[in-house]
Amino acid sequence: MRSGGARWGLRLATLAVLGFIYIPLAVVIVYAFNASGTVSWPPAGFSLRWVQAALENSGLQDAFKTSIVIGIGAAAIAVILGSLAAFAVARYRFFGREAISFVVVFPIALPGIVTGMALSTTFATVDLPLGILSIIVGHATFCVVLVYNNVIARLRRTSRSLEEASSDLGADTWQTFRHVTLPAVRSAVLAGALLAFALSFDEVIVTIFTAGGVTTLPIWIFRSFRLANQVALVNVAGLAAILLSVIPVYIASRLTQDTGGVTGAKT
């Protein structure tokens, strides 16, 4: 594969795949600014009327706010659980340590529909009413792994000798945590939180099973895409969904620099 021809072939294939990856995203963005209310190609021209209409649509607004609240709630729980588990696995030797890293990945390695069915069946069995809380519980469950992966990767790279040095220099456990450990993992925790938010914000497969009557932004899209009079609004909602998942992920990847913690861990 050293020859010039093969190199050009690879370059072309790479460009083609990138085009394949980006064109559908571009299509939704273009339609969001379409002058016409239909979705036939080509679009009729540039207009902000559907953005305007989306800003005035209370159902869409509520769905958007609900998704933000859920994203923040799920990310908060994931930060607590993921960081605790990462500290335990990275800093201690104990029976069942391997199992922890396995069980953390489990909710994301299994098909979303299994997680959704399992949680909704359980909620029904224990009579927990479905709603924002049950959605947050479900999202937090598969978001833990994102924080866990980021924090444990950082802890493994942060030498323990720094903590030992701090302790040798007379710092107590709290000071060591406050001035040595926390600064080292802070950006990794934040990156994990952003990823958790991004994943929660656009999750739909598990959400539908745990939502009850609550409408998140993806559920709003899922209910509206068939309705002819809503389709133009769906495009604007889609644009919002793309931005609110891509921007946090971009910041997260800057925070962690190497993308090791980001890849390969999303449903």
């Binding site: 069980v103 098909p111 529909i113 069946t121 709290w174």
Partner: protein, 298 residues
Amino acid sequence: MTTRATPATRSDPPLRRLAAWLHERPRLRLAALLAAPVAWLVLLYLGSLVVLFLNSFWLRDEFTGLVSRTFSLDNFVEILTGPLYRTVLLRTAGMAIAVTLTTGVLAFPIAYYMARVASPRTRGFLVVAVLMPLWASYLVKAYSWRLILANDGLLNWLLGPLGLRGPGQSEIGLWLVFTYLWLPYMILPLYAGLERIPHSLLEASADLGGRSWVTFRRVIFPLVIPALAAGSIFTFSLTLGDYVAPSLITTTQFIGNLIYTNFGAPDLPLAAALSLVPLLVMLLYLALARRLGAFESL
């Protein structure tokens, strides 16, 4: 962090005193760290899977519509013998295999380019360029394909002048959509796997007279099998359990659609039994992937 912590005195703030107190008791510290995550993941998540498992043996009374909690294998008998279920199960498995193979083939050139041809700068750019769309709203991406594949959509507009038509809202269209949706999940592990191959191995193969194709088949391919297996966990699992993309693109039923339709009112125990199928298939798949070394490449 073993010794020399200054003993806590009365004047210290409570948090510091707690930290000092815990410092003397590493096992207690570990328990404090693990209690919440283990309770959540084991009790809530694994517990839920057990509840799902139990539910699948229960029955829904045809007349009252209530679930009776008596043990029965009827749901499984229905799934295994009902012609509808068998067709749908095979269709879903076929789709998952087809999508996994296609993503593997499509991912290879770009992953190879990223790992072994591109300059470090381009490589960094490409990793981010592949990573971003992976996270962009899954639902919106599937929805966008609904627009692209529509009769008056982008694809037919492009193909029209050539006298061709796109696959439309068919199973072929859905196969394209799934391939699109899960492609980044295959590219990234494959890229990581290709990057790990020592350059000396490729040189050795070339020195021993291996042409490009032979080097690929005898050296590169065997070395990236764990990475391919890692990527395929995602492409396979995600296709297996999806009901949103199928309902956006086609009217054809997949196993996810059956679970979803039975979940609402009709028959929760049957839906529970049905969802054990992707769970079981996935557990077998994970075991296979583990043998191929996928877990070291995740």
